[in-house]
Symmetry: C2
Subunit: 210 residues, 2 copies
DNA sequence: GTCTATAAATAGATAGAC
DNA sequence: GTCTATCTATTTATAGAC
């Protein structure tokens, strides 16, 4: 019997991580409240300090998990045997899938940008660098194969990642706008955005823009 | 003599607004500290409650100023006699100019998105709706003139505004990345981003993408 | 691993003199 | 309009029992 009567091992930890991600996304690092996190996780507050060391350490762990997942998926795409075109599609999908799988990631990501990556540790910074590097190598590979024109990876990165994070993070905002006269602001699908980004990015890289 | 010996009328108010914008950008609404704002403005803390009513009211005023400025500029572009193509260029320029003129705007904008526009009053919401509406009418005008293909204004908006705000807000982050192995992350100009967005957006709207 | 109780610091806000 | 002093509530964090 590997389980307790009511609670599985690690449940408290998981519940805290989930509740904390929601709280950090909604209120930011400084605005987040450990009491509220504990209450939402239906766990005693002291457990935060037992399982993690501090509010800051809890936050860093959440950040690290998110960026690790994105970086891993992107590295996998870049290292695969796919064509440069499909690697670009895979890159866009990687960001979209991870941004969607972790409902609080996009909002936390926006806040970290605003904060100048202040709460980010060396490993997470390496993740960010790797994502950018992977995109750069995909572009280079396409250029060597004579299928892509040279382009600044930072510009391509910004025009893919920013709209995607923006889209995922604006769910609430768009519903509010919809109710206030911007008819249809809420009616837009994830696929519409992804397809648009694929079309545009590939057109740019393949020099299909007059 | 309309001035006092040392301090012009309204100086305290202005100093507080500037210091507060910096504080809110760096730490978010909940994380911002009124003591720190007063200290940075070299003004007594009680002045915040005299000139504004509360921390919340001070924040709302900053938000309103920023979005009013953007909306005004965008409305001007949409209502001008320019061609649809130049109106699109004007729209992109409007966002870029205001995002650049108010150094704290992009980071505060990112945070507001993350917060689901919680601190936003009705006037500011109207601004947001008008910006989206103006872009929609520019696209419609281009379609009626047979120069644009139909496109979802929300998608076009996201692919313009998100990368621009992202670019302006990531100044610090990109310098950090640059020092950590992402060679050239800091070496990218505002004009490079704006030119890229103009080219891509017009190519999409004019159906010049295969 | 989990709980109660509480310490210690910091926050937003105001009263009242000048 | 500006300043000092202070009130009150909230917050992170820990000690210690179970």
């Amino acid at each position: 019997m590997a389980r307790r009567t009511t609670t599985a091992v690690g449940d408290t930890r998981r519940a805290l991580l989930d509740a904390a991600a929601a709280e950090f996304a909604a209120r930011g690092y400084a605005g987040a409240n450990v009491d509220r996190i504990a209450r939402a996780a239906r766990v005693n507050k002291a457990m935060i300090y037992y399982h993690f060391r501090s509010k800051a350490a809890l936050y860093r762990e959440i950040i690290r998990d998110m960026f690790d997942a994105v970086a891993a998926r992107v590295r996998e795409v870049a290292g695969s045997g796919a064509s440069p075109e499909n690697k670009v599609r895979g890159f866009i999908a990687a960001i979209a899938i991870e941004g969607e799988a972790r409902p609080h990631f996009p909002r936390i990501w926006l806040r970290e940008i605003a904060e100048g990556a202040e709460h980010i540790d060396a490993g997470t910074l390496r993740d960010a660098r790797d994502v950018l590097g992977a995109l750069g190598s995909i572009i280079e590979e396409g250029c060597r194969a004579g299928r892509f024109h040279p382009a600044n990876p930072l510009v391509i990165h910004a025009t893919i990642v920013a709209p995607l994070m923006f889209f995922f993070a604006t769910g609430k905002f768009r519903q509010k706008l919809d109710r206030h006269g911007a008819r249809g602001a809420a009616r837009i699908s994830r696929d519409e955005v992804v397809t648009h980004l694929e079309r545009v990015t590939l057109a740019v890289l393949e020099g299909r823009i007059a």
